[in-house]
Structure formats: C-alpha cells, structure tokens
C-alpha cells in the first residue's frame, strides 16, 4: 500500500513542480491520441452513418468487417502499420517509422472501427419513419444525413469516448511503431512500461495516476455533455 501512496504523492509533486519530462510525455500523449481520435471521427462517423442508413450489396459483410475492427488488437494494428512504413515497406520513403505520425496512423486504425461501429448501431436505432418524414418534406440526401447525424449525436459522442479511451490506454501499437523513444515517441503508456522495466516504480505509479486522471477528465466532460442535453452549444450543433 505504501508504494501506492508514494506514487500518488509523487504524481502530485511531478505535476505541480512542472517536471519537464512528464509534461513532454503528457503533451505528446494528448497530441497523438487527440489527433488520432479526430481523424477517426472524420473517418468513422461518416462511414457509420452511410453504412447504417443505406441498403447496398455486401452491407452485412461490411458491418461484419467493422465489428471485427472494433475488436482489433492494438498489436495487430501496430504490425499492419509497420509492414507498410518500414524502410523496406511500401511507404518506407515517407520515413514514418518511429515518428508520432506513425503512432497516429496506428491509433486511427484502432479507433475508427470503434467509432464507426458505435455510430452505425446508433443510426440504425433511429426510427426509420424519421428518414421518410424528412424526405417527404423535401430534404435532399445530405440534409437527410445531417438531420439523422444530429439525431444520433449523443451516441456518436459515446463512440468518440470509447475510441479515445481505447487508444490513450493502449501500448502495443505505439511501442511497435513509435519505438518508445525518449522525448520523441514516448507516451504515457509506453513510459509506464519503461519505468517498470527500469525498476522506477514511483514514477510508474505517478504516470498511471496522471493517465487515469486524463481519461477520467475527458470522459467526465463528455459525459456531462451527453447527460445534459440542455447545454447551449451542443444544441446549436
């Protein structure tokens, strides 16, 4: 127990004394997982909506693919990405190996199926009569999508939360494609692995506390928005 309290104390000290290494790791984590979740939204929400609201050949097959993707193990995502971005790989000339963009790509691969899958399930829950109604009022195709996305915005928010939670806490993919390089590609999860390896448990616990605080903070904020329909800015969305 002692060591846990020490870790928590250490976490507080590290945060308030502005330990440079910790802040670097923290910002990189937010930058990587934040942009990954942003790109995953761009990719996942439209795919979820389009697949959910349309009938087309192979629809069931595509849904099955998305659902499989939702359970894609991070190490599998990492391996897929490194096969492409290796120096000898197809995209080797881009020199992405062991860089933050590579980590973003791997995380997008993990998060976008999660976001697409949950969005898909959400729009399928919407009463089909709504679509008929909007169409009969003379809306064009994109207006229909827009209205239905608005209708499904809360589940979509849950999708984003799930996606973010999935990638900020994963270690397998980022350690593979990022290499866990100090000051460059070391994020919270890989730093924790490294600290444990080096026997630096105080620091490891401190970083775990910080990681938990971030995921809690982000999820708390999003939950507030989700539960309080009445917040002005989201209503205007």
């Amino acid at each position: 127990m002692e060591i846990i309290w020490q870790g928590i104390k250490q976490a507080i000290i590290l945060i308030f004394t502005g330990n440079r290494e910790v802040y670097e790791i923290l910002f990189l984590t937010l930058k990587v997982s934040g942009s990954a979740v942003f790109f995953s939204m761009l990719l996942g929400i439209p795919v979820g909506v389009l697949v959910g609201l349309n009938k087309f050949p192979l629809k069931k097959f595509i849904i099955a693919v998305i659902n499989t993707g939702m359970g894609l193990p991070p190490v599998a995502a990492g391996l897929i990405v490194i096969l492409f971005i290796w120096r000898s790989g197809m995209l080797g000339f881009l020199k992405l190996m062991y860089t933050p963009p590579a980590m973003v790509i791997a995380q997008v691969l993990i998060a976008s199926p999660i976001i697409a899958g949950i969005t898909l399930a959400a729009v399928q829950q919407i009463d089909p009569k709504l679509k008929q109604q909007v169409l009969s009022l003379g809306a064009n195709r994109f207006q229909v999508y827009w209205i239905l996305i608005r209708e499904a915005r809360l589940p979509a928010l849950a999708a984003v939360m799930a996606g973010f939670g999935g990638i900020i806490s994963e270690v397998g993919a980022v350690i593979m494609v990022g290499g866990n390089i100090k000051g460059e590609t070391r994020v919270l999860t890989t730093a924790i692995v490294q600290m444990v390896r080096m026997g630096n448990f105080d620091m490891a616990i401190a970083l775990v506390v910080i990681l938990l605080a971030i995921t809690f903070g982000v999820n708390f904020l999003l939950t507030l928005i989700q539960q309080k329909e009445g917040i002005g800015w989201i209503r205007r969305f």
Binding site: L43, R87, T99, P101, V104, K182, V196, M198, G199
Partner: protein, 283 residues
Amino acid sequence: MSKFRFLKIFLFFMLSVIIITTSVFAFSCKKKVKNTEIILATTTSTYDSGLLDELIPVFEEETTYKVKPIAVGTGEAIAMGERGEADVILVHSREEEDRFVEEGYGTERRDVMHNDFVIIGPEDDHSDISGLTAVEAYITISANEASFVSRGDDSGTNKKEIEIWEETGTTPQGDWYIESGQGMGETLRIADEKQAYTMTDRGTYLAQQNNLSLVVLVEGDEILFNPYRVIPVNPEKHKDININYEGAQAFVEFITGEKGQAIIKEFGVAEYGQPLFYPDVIK
C-alpha cells in the same frame, strides 16, 4: 436512389480521407528528409540501465545527428540490421555478430565495453549453487528442478544462457524452467516474485537491486564474460533503402572514442558504487 450511387459516394469519401491524411503526413515529414537520423537497434540491457540516456545527448550535441534508440533483444536488433531497418547496432552475442559481419550485413565490429553475467537466486540458495562455476550451477539447478527463469526471447542474455545449457549436456525442460519472453527488467522481477534462479547481466541487476531480494551466487566464471560491440549496417546490402552510413560511422567513432568511453566508465559509479559497464578502448 440507386444502390451504386451510395457506393460511389462512399468510395470517393474514403479515397479523399486517405489522400488528405497521407499528404498531411508526407508534408509534415518533408522538413526532416535530410538524412540526420540514425536508428540504433540495441539491447534492453544498455537501454534499461539508462546508459544510452547519458551517451546519446552528448553525441547529438557534438554532431548534427539525431539518434533513435530502439531497445529490443540482440536477436531482433541483428534482424533489424539484416533488413536495413537500423543504421547501426549495439549488441552482445559474439557468434551472431560474427555471422552478421561475415555475411556482409555489417561493415566492421568494434569492441565498446563489457561487463559480466551473474547467476542470481534466493538468499537461502536452497540448491546450494553459491561459488560453483556456471555450468556446475546449471547442472545442480536442473538436477534439483529448482525454479529457473529464462528470458526465452532470443536476446544476447538468452543466447548466453543457452550456450551454458549446451555445455551442461542437458536440455532444460519441465515446470521448473520458466520462459518469461520479456526484457531483463521484467525477468528479474518474475524471478524475484517466484524466488527463482536466473541469469542476468550485472548492469541491469545493479540498476534494479533496490527492488530485488535475489542475491548474486555465481560470478567471475570465464564463460560469463559479456562483451558489447557496435556494428554499422552495410549500405551496400540495401541499395534501395537510404541507410545513414555516415551517421552510423560517426556514432561508432563517438562511442569508441574518448568522450563516449569516459561516459561509459563513469556511468553508475555515483549511484551504485561501481561502474555498470567497463569501457574496452580506454582503461
């Protein structure tokens, strides 16, 4: 509403997202295209001990290069060199290094530093291996079926362990022989939790000593010598890949040069009362 209109929109959308993201990344990476990056594939023992964190900043300050150390086992580091995924490797497995250079993957091998392996175990040393030679100790452990944790990860330490088992003429197997498949740090902790015997490089053991109850039981045997060497990857083997050979050579010169060797010599002395690695070029 035709079915295929949807598919068209869908494909168009996917394509545009892919094009936009790749071009954004390609663009953001353009700045770094000048070949100043050196990928150093090395072992967990040099990395987890913290030695590279001391060496690399000094090297980067002296030159314009940027080093990316990737900590893997010796086996994987050599494989990375063979595929051209690394520019220079710092490893500890003589036989593999010789093969690597003889097959033309590396251009030269240079001695950098050494330390030694030690066999550690629970304080009560229930199998009584203290003071034996490494081979005798392994024979005793296997005869008693005392728990022994192996790295089992094709690392330099693992290769050395297998070499010793081969000397004993027995093949370790059974419930007592645990393969962790992880780095030295994790393996030490597993051995500690299970109060098992294991073999480790002295550097990692010293760095972790505060967290461990295991003690050194066998040391000083010739077979336990643990030399590290640095090898630049041969750019001729990978003409289609841009190997940073100049950078690799600069790193080799640095780590075997006066400054690098002095850092190695001093490393760990203040904290552990003895160096974790002994430089080979200076005494």
